[in-house]
Each structure stands twice: as C-alpha cells, then as structure tokens.
Amino acid sequence: MPQLEVRDVTVRYKKRVGIQNASLQAERGEIIGFIGADGTGKSSLMHAIAGVIRFEGEIVYDGVAYHSPKEAERIKAEIGLMPQGIGLVLYDDLTVGEHLQFFADIRDVKQDEAFYAYRDKLLHMAGLSEFTDRLAGNLSGGMMQKLSLICTLLHRPKLLILDEPTTGVDPLSRLELWEILDNIRKEEGTIALVSTAYMQEAARMDKVLLFDDSKIIAKGKLEELVHEIEPYVYEKSPCEECLTIHGKSFSLKPLDAPHTTPSLEDIFFVNALKSQKLPPKIEIGARSDGTELPEIVMEAKGLTKRFGSFVADDHIDMQLRRGEILGLLGANGAGKTTFIKMLLGLYPIDEGELTLLGRPIRSGKDRQKLKAKIGYVSQHFALYKELTVRENLLYFANMHHIPPTEAIRRIGRYAEELGFAEYMDDFPSSLPLGVNQRFSVAAALLHEPVVLFLDEPTSGVDAIARAQFWEMLRLLKQKWGISILITTHYMSEAEYCDRVVLLKRGKKIADDTVENLYKSHPDAKSFEEIFLSYYRENA
C-alpha cells in the first residue's frame, strides 16, 4: 500500500470548483510535481492534502484516512506546508536564527543536541549559516525561500507540501532549493509534493501531474508522458485542425511532415487538441496610420533608483531599438518593474539620463506629448473589476480621445483578432487569466502606440495562452514595426526575444542578442543554463 493515497478529491468553493476528482499515490522519498497554470487547481489539491480546507473524497496517509480538516489533525505533526508567495511565512522583523527558534517552539520540537545538529545542517545546506543574525526583511527573495523551506523542515515532516517554492526566485537559488529537497527526501524518506511554474523543473521530479481546467490531465513519469505524445508532434508545417506553436505542429491526424522531439509543455497543446479546445487564432490587422520611429526608441544611461538605503536599480544602461522585442529578465526583486516605472515616469529617476523617442526626459512635462505613443500593460493586468470587458475598453478609448465610432470599430476588431469576443460582457475577474492578459494588451493597443512596455504579462498564464501571447507580440512587431520592452521571470522566454538584458539585484549582468548569447555559450542546452553561468560569474 502506498504511503500517501489521494482518492477522488474534489474541492468546491462558493462559486467554482477548485479541483475535481483528483487521485494520486506516492511512496516514501518520492518527489511529485504539480504542473499547470494559475487557477488550475494545484493549490486547492495541496491545501486539501495538508488538511487545511474542506474537501470531498478520501486521503490516506500512513494508514490514517481523513475526510476533513478535523480528521487530518491526527497527522498534522507529520506534515510541512509551505504556502505560495515569497517569504509569506516569514516575519520581516525577526532574524534568521529567531525564525528557526520560533518554528521549533511552535512545533514543540525537543531541542536537544540532535536538534541543533540538524538545525546547523539545514542552515548549511541553505547557505544561511553566516546570516543567522540578519533580519528576514533584509534577505533576498531566494534566501527568503530557502529560509522558509528550512523552517518548514525543522520538525522533520514526512509529508512535505511546497506550493510554488521557486516562482520568481533567481536560477541559482532555485538550484539550491532543489538540492536541499533532494537531500532531505533521500535522508529522511520524505514525500514531497511540489508545484512549479517552470516546466524545466519537471526533470527533477519522480512523477509529474499536469493540471488544466481544475482537472489532472496527465500523470506519470516525465519521459513516459513525453513519449506518449510523440506521434502527434511534427516539425512546423501547414495543416488543418492542428496547432502550430513555437516552430512545432501538433495534430491528431497524421501529417506529411517529419516528427520532432516533444517537450513537457507540448502535452498541454496535445491535450487541447484532444479535448477540442482549439485556441482562437491570433491575428493583427494593419494600423490606421504609419509607424515612425527613430533608430533608438529608448535610451537609458546610468538610470538609478533608490528606496532609502536599498538600491533597486544601480546605474543601468539600456537601449531599445526600432522594431525590436527586448526582454528584461530577472528574478523577483531584481529591479525590472522599478526600471519600467522609471521609464514611464511613475517613479522619479534618482540619477541618470533618459531619452524617449528622441526626446530627453527631464520632468513630467516632457512626457505629455509622448503619452499617445506609449502603451503600457502593468503587472497583474490593471483593469476595473467592476466594469465589463467592453466597458473597460470603451473607457480607455474615451480617455485616449478616440472618437466613439472608431473606438467601437477597433474594440470589435481586437476582440476578434485576439480571441476574446465571446467574453465582451463578462467581468474581468470571471475570465481565464490568459484572456485577461490579451484583453489588457488590447486596452494598451487601442490608441495604436509605437512603443509597448509590458510588465510580467506571462506570469501564471497557461502554456497555450503564453504561446499565443508571444505569437501576438511577434505579429505586432512584424505588422506594425513597433518596439516592445517586456519583463519576465521565465528565463526560457528569452528565446522569443530579439535581445535580452539580465538583471540581478539591481545590476545589469548581461545584455546581448539571442544569437550572440547562444554563440558565446556553445555548451548550454537552454537559456536557463546560459543565465545560470552569468549568475555564477556575478555571484
């Protein structure tokens, strides 16, 4: 009998279903990966297993069956849960050492010599041995997550539940987190349930569960799952009733094209084909007037922003050229959003010079005439929650002084082209994240800008919507010839950019075209590895 068995678990909220009929089995020492976009039920299932929310169905751990949070009390001593969000379980005003003391006390761990030896080992593994006196508020995002993890491990749980521990964390810290996890499961025989936003991490897991639409759509070993879809994956070729994404074509019917190696992400595309949920095709029509852009659209020289003694951006030079997609990459807290906000004038610039569309920017007045030329999509898609999609778009169009008939025409066109026409009278909160994302971009495109600033638009969005999103950016560049600056914490998305800039803790550590980066790192298999080498060099 497996150590952990989840049978037919369903979690219902007031208005929606969190996860439907989920089942899984896990043996001691196994790492089970939960992979899927935001809102597909990963967290709901994790919270049900941790016994912190009500659920239907049965969970058996170590021979103890439970059906409700109350019954789960009996095994709570065995469980360690780390919720989603960086540093969520930490207190800014306690030091690293005080955190360990607090978590040991609250879990009533016997503090004998063995405990201190274990504690020191954890600190060492997390690389925090020298920082026991540092306040948690002054740690970097990666260190915070490592501290959260060792605090969760302190009472030696046998069932570890980690909800997106690596999202937004820098690549080096992510490697270290995985190493800690690997050591612990080997030494303690712990079952680890880990959800992640990064497909590449699936290689670290013994079994993966793929989540889509509140259901588990596939489970098993990574290689087996990828092997299963091989017959449906072809090299890019024209076809009907199929999907063509990122240079591959997916089709259930045989195609007259050579097969190619599938990746984990491709399982989601094949699943969409099988369930006949073909995503709408993205198109971009011609704009109403031409694009006139200087050679250098944006130039920043030594741009610096300080918050008190903290330097968010430290003398950053950057250029955005005509008709280019520039990717600004970095972990959470690297200074990406701050940089974009300085470019837009939402934060004052502490030091440095900025030129936008050939105009030096010295005060807010210099920006007045540029407003009509810049489009901006903020993090988390800033929209009015109380207004429907149509009302939101009409409002933005009005604020841009677009005549009503023209506004209605453009809104209708974007709704068709970007595939959200059926959602026009819904409220943003009830839409899938991917639809929200495209409709936010539509709002930023209404006035037909020549430069587009996008702040983490792909965060948490499902694989298909993300692929469509990049397709949309490519078309925008191609058809409109505009320049796009986009930030992301997915290192793998660097591939879709023309040029990338990598930030680490407010400093620029790489700035080159995608081809050059590949050329200068011939051994690297993926962008993840290229960036890792930059991180190591600038440690």
Binding site: G345, F396, M399
Partner: protein, 359 residues
C-alpha cells in the same frame, strides 16, 4: 470635458454595482441619523431615585412627589444611607436623597434645613441636570421674598428640542465621514489595482481625472444628504428650515468638496484600503473635536480655539445651524463659504502634486 463626464459616469456606475457600499451609504443617511436623533438624550429621563427618610414624612414626601415620570422613576425607599450607597454603587439608583431627622424640624422652625443629595457622577450631564431640577423644586419650598421673576424667550428652537440638534449634528458627521472615506477609497483602490498608473499615462490631465473622481463621490453624498434632510430631519424630527434650502445645498457641496480634499490627502499618503481606514480616523477625530460639534468653540482652550479655524467642519456646522435655525440671509454666510473653499483648495493642491503627476 468628455474625459471628465466619462470618468464621473464610470465612478457612479462602479458605486452602483457595489451593492454593499450602496446599502452602507443609505443606512448612514437614514437609520443612523434617525437613531442618533432619537437615542441621544440630554434631559433627564427615566432617572432612578432612591431616598432615606428619617423624618417620618410630610415635607419630604411633598418634595418626592415632585419627582415624576417621564423624567424620574417612582422614588424607592431605603432603610439606611448605607443601603442607598450600595444601590448607587450597583447602578440600581442614580440619584439618592437623604432626609435626616433634623431636616423636618429645622424646616418647620424656619432654620436653614439641609437635604443631602448623592449623585452618580459617571452619568455626568444627566446628574447635573437632575441637580438643577432638584434645586428648582427646593426653591419652591423656600419662602423667598424676592421681587424677581425670570421670563424665558427660547430663540430659534422654541421647544428646546435636542432631537433636532442631535439629528442635524449626526447628519453633518455622517457627511464628513462618508465623503472622506469614499473619496479616499476611490483613489486608493485604483492605486492598489494598478489602474491609477494607467490613468496617469493617459493623455488626459490627471487634474481632470482627480476632480471627476472626487466630484462623483461628492455627488453621491449630496444625494444622500437630500434624502436625509427630506425624510429624516424634516419628516421624522420636524426640523425647521428658516433659511434658504439652496444655500444649504450649496454649502454642503463646497464642504463635501473640501472634505473630499481630505480624502485625497489620505489617499495620497496611504498604500491600501486598510491604511485609509486607520488614517481617516486619526485625521477625522481632531477635525470633529475641534469643529464645535461636541463642545461649543467658545468653551475651548484659547489655543484649541485658534486650531479650530483649520477644521472645515467648524464652518460647515456654524453655517448649517445658521441656515436651519437662525434663518441667516444668504449673503451673510460668506465667512462659512470662504473658510470651506480656502481649506478645500489647499488640500486639492497638495493632492494634485502628490498623486497626480508623472516624474
């Protein structure tokens, strides 16, 4: 002008879609004002009286018979002063009268007679007013040969009806509270959701957006005020309106506008709705204390009197009472309009600078 009207309309639509908010605003302008007017009582009412009578009746019973409903409950007899003190301690009795043996004797002989009164001073105002009642009653028993008589003329409020004052004061407080919080929340919610950044980047002057957003909340409060004046003040409490109703509407408009300026200030310095709640209370309490809503300004410390000039509520209360009760002419209201407008303008200038610009 179009961006202004569009933003104004959008804010009203968002308000109407927040059912809870609509209910809270309606409640504040109707039930809350009514309860405050009905519930707060300055005159003694249902005061419990206890007494110890060692005189054997007569004069003492005559005095006690003057304490009747609705001001006083029927006096209750106690055997000893100790028992009476205990009852006062246990809040069963608020006012205790002790007629000792010498009281009747001294009174009959024409010597100064002493009546001991025990008061529960935790209910200070009711106790003190009760004491004044008692003095008046005792005065009737005192044979004074004084050719002096008081003839009272109650001005502006013939029945000295405190309900009207309380209801009006509560309405003014509700207006202040709601307009500050509503205005602060419409800005902070946009800051929280990130839509404010988008607004700043629109080719529309942020001043227009700020004015449209705050005026939409002023408009909501004005509607509420009209409901409260029509239904509650005039309907339930028969508050007279001796001055011009339109003068009141205009003064309310300017006052709400300057209070929305306070809301704008609160929004400019807070990060989220939680901070708005905390800050509004910290800022509003002194404004209300200093406004003269609870204590007449002439009774305050001289320094506080000067400070009260900074509270827009002070001008509004004085102005409103002048309009409702005194029937002051429109032109003579200028100091109140002036005070409210100047303070409001200063707050908006700060708000424009603090949240309404790009760098």
């Amino acid at each position: 002008m179009r961006p202004f009207l569009i933003t104004f309309g959008k804010e009203l639509l968002i308000f109407l879609r927040s059912v809870m908010l609509v209910l809270v605003v309606l409640y504040s302008f109707t039930v809350d004002v009514y309860v405050a007017g009905q519930g707060v009582e300055m005159k003694p009412r249902n005061v419990t009286v206890g007494y110890v009578d060692k005189t054997g009746g007569g004069i003492s019973q005559k005095i006690l018979s003057r304490l009747h409903m609705p001001e006083f409950k029927p006096p209750k007899a106690f055997l000893s002063q100790k028992a009476l003190s205990e009852a006062i301690f246990n809040k069963e009795i608020r006012v205790g009268l002790v007629f000792d043996r010498d009281f009747a004797v001294d009174y009959r002989k024409g010597r100064p007679a002493q009546l001991d009164v025990l008061l529960d001073a935790t209910v200070a105002s009711q106790s003190l007013i009760t004491l004044i009642y008692l003095k008046n009653i005792v005065l009737d028993f005192t044979d004074l040969a004084m050719p002096l008589q008081i003839k009272t003329h109650k001005l502006f409020n013939q029945n000295a009806d405190t309900h009207q004052f309380m209801a009006l004061s509560e309405l003014l407080s509700v207006i202040t509270l709601l307009v500050v919080i509503l205005a602060a929340v419409v800005f902070v919610k946009e800051k929280e959701d990130g839509t404010w950044d988008i607004m700043l980047l629109m080719p529309v002057s942020p001043k227009v957006t700020i004015l449209a957003k705050s005026l939409s909340q002023v408009f909501i409060v004005m509607i509420g005020t009209v409901i409260a004046v029509g239904w509650v003040l005039m309907g339930a409490f028969d508050v007279p309106i001796n001055g011009s109703f339109w003068a009141f509407v205009l003064l309310t408009f300017f006052y709400s506008f300057s209070s929305a300026g306070i809301g704008l200030f609160v929004a400019a310095v807070s990060k989220d709705v939680m901070q708005v709640a905390q800050l509004s209370i910290i800022i509003m309490m002194p404004l209300i204390f200093l406004s003269g809503a609870w204590t007449p300004i002439y009774a305050m410390h001289p320094i506080l009197q000067k400070l009260s000039l900074l509270s827009p509520l002070r001008y509004y209360i004085e102005g409103t009472q002048s309009i409702f009760f005194r029937g002051t002419d429109f032109v003579d209201l200028w100091p109140y309009f002036g005070g409210v407008i100047v303070l409001g303008a200063l707050l908006y200038l700060y708000g424009f600078r603090k949240i309404g610009r790009l760098f």
